[in-house]
Amino acid sequence: MRIPVLSLGRILLVSIQEDLTDSDAMQFQSDLVERVAETEALGVAIDITALDVVDSYMARVINDTAYMVRLLGAEAVICGVQPFVAMTLIEMGRDLLGADCAFNLEQGLEILKGRIAKRGDTRFDEDEDA
């Protein structure tokens, strides 16, 4: 199953709706990374509201993906970690989800926008256009 990558201006949005097999997870990771590089996205929101169970592998995939996105020069936020998921993740190890998290998609996008506004490359866009 392929996870669609939606774009909102220069922000990319991915929503994981069901449990992924290992190969699907890898596919998701490389799809997203390719897309970020291709569109020179400024921010990525990974929404996991629909996931009731996140095992350590999945947590690592999400975390790694967020790091890759940052290496490619975009901000990354993970949205909608369920309370139960958060508890199990803390049980398994604190740094499993090291990336920044937001309560829901709306707040996630707000965080992204705030960060993007502070970036040098977006601030000077108007200078270049002038």
Partner: protein, 285 residues
């Protein structure tokens, strides 16, 4: 003492030389050159042939033959091989040329079928063994010399540290990064940071084809060292594959800023140093 080989060389010298030069010509033409063998190479081959003839005339089959590496023959051979290697002729062609002379001599010797020809054949074999060895060594030497020279000049060319703006340095990395280059890159960068009192250093990785463990480790060291000097590092132009490799190798660059393109990196660097590029009122047209 005139052995059959010495007699052969004495009686048919010009004829043998002509046959050999003819053979050299055919090897030369096989290289894709349609013009005839250059006069220089002919003269060189002629002097090599003369030297071999002299060598054979001076020694006997019973002598322990050892080629003098400082002698005229070795010298001529070395020069010839150097020329061949420089024009890009293959090692097998150059060595084939030496072996063809041996073949020529031994065939002629065999045809005469004289009594003590066997001893002479063995002798010929010994002489040409060491000649071939010498040719090969000379060839490899020349090539290695060329390679060292080239990699040195590549090293010189490929690690410039550019001053992009006041207090902003740009280090564009191009090509494969090995340990030697990495060390040189680090040294130059640190020196430049200190000289220009750089606040921000942009590390552009657009031209790095593969990022593997060793490259990543070198990068880490370079970045850490730069940060110790109090400069902020901005990395730009990491490819999607590179990002995946770095992450899967478990390499974390801490609070290094990453940007997709050099353009975004420059904008970030300008912001960090509190500067901006703005349009001017009157434009030169």
């Amino acid at each position: 003492m005139a052995t059959p080989l010495i007699k052969l060389l004495h009686e048919h010298r010009e004829e043998l030389l002509d046959a050999w030069l003819h053979h050299a010509q055919s090897i030369w033409s096989g290289n894709g050159n349609y013009e005839s063998l250059p006069q220089e190479s002919r003269l060189r081959l002629r002097s090599i042939f003369d030297d071999i003839a002299t060598l054979i005339a001076q020694t006997t089959p019973d002598d322990d033959f050892e080629l003098n590496p400082e002698g005229a023959l070795a010298n001529h051979l070395h020069q010839f091989v150097t020329e061949q290697a420089r024009i890009g002729s293959g090692a097998n062609k150059t060595i084939g040329l030496m072996l063809s002379l041996k073949h020529l001599l031994s065939t002629r010797l065999f045809d005469r079928s004289e009594a003590d020809a066997v001893a002479d054949l063995m002798w010929l074999e010994r002489i040409f063994d060491s000649l071939t060895q010498l040719t090969f060594t000379a060839f490899v030497d020349v090539r290695e010399h060329l390679i060292t020279q080239q990699s040195l000049s590549l090293l010189e060319l490929s690690t410039p540290v550019l001053r992009l703006w006041s207090r902003i340095l740009l280090l564009p990395l191009v090509g494969v990064i090995d340990t030697i280059r990495a060390r040189q890159i680090t040294e130059r960068l640190l020196e430049a940071i200190a000289r220009h009192e750089a606040r921000v250093t942009i590390l552009d990785l657009t031209g790095v084809p593969v990022i593997d463990t060793s490259v990543a480790q070198h990068l880490m060291k370079t970045i850490d060292a730069a940060r110790l000097l109090g400069t902020q590092v901005v990395m730009t132009g990491i490819s999607p594959e590179g990002a995946q490799t770095l992450t899967k190798l478990g390499i974390r660059f801490g609070d290094v800023l990453c940007r997709a393109t050099l353009r975004a990196g420059i904008a970030e660097a300008l912001l960090l140093t509190g500067q901006r590029i703005s349009p001017v009122e009157e434009r030169r047209s």
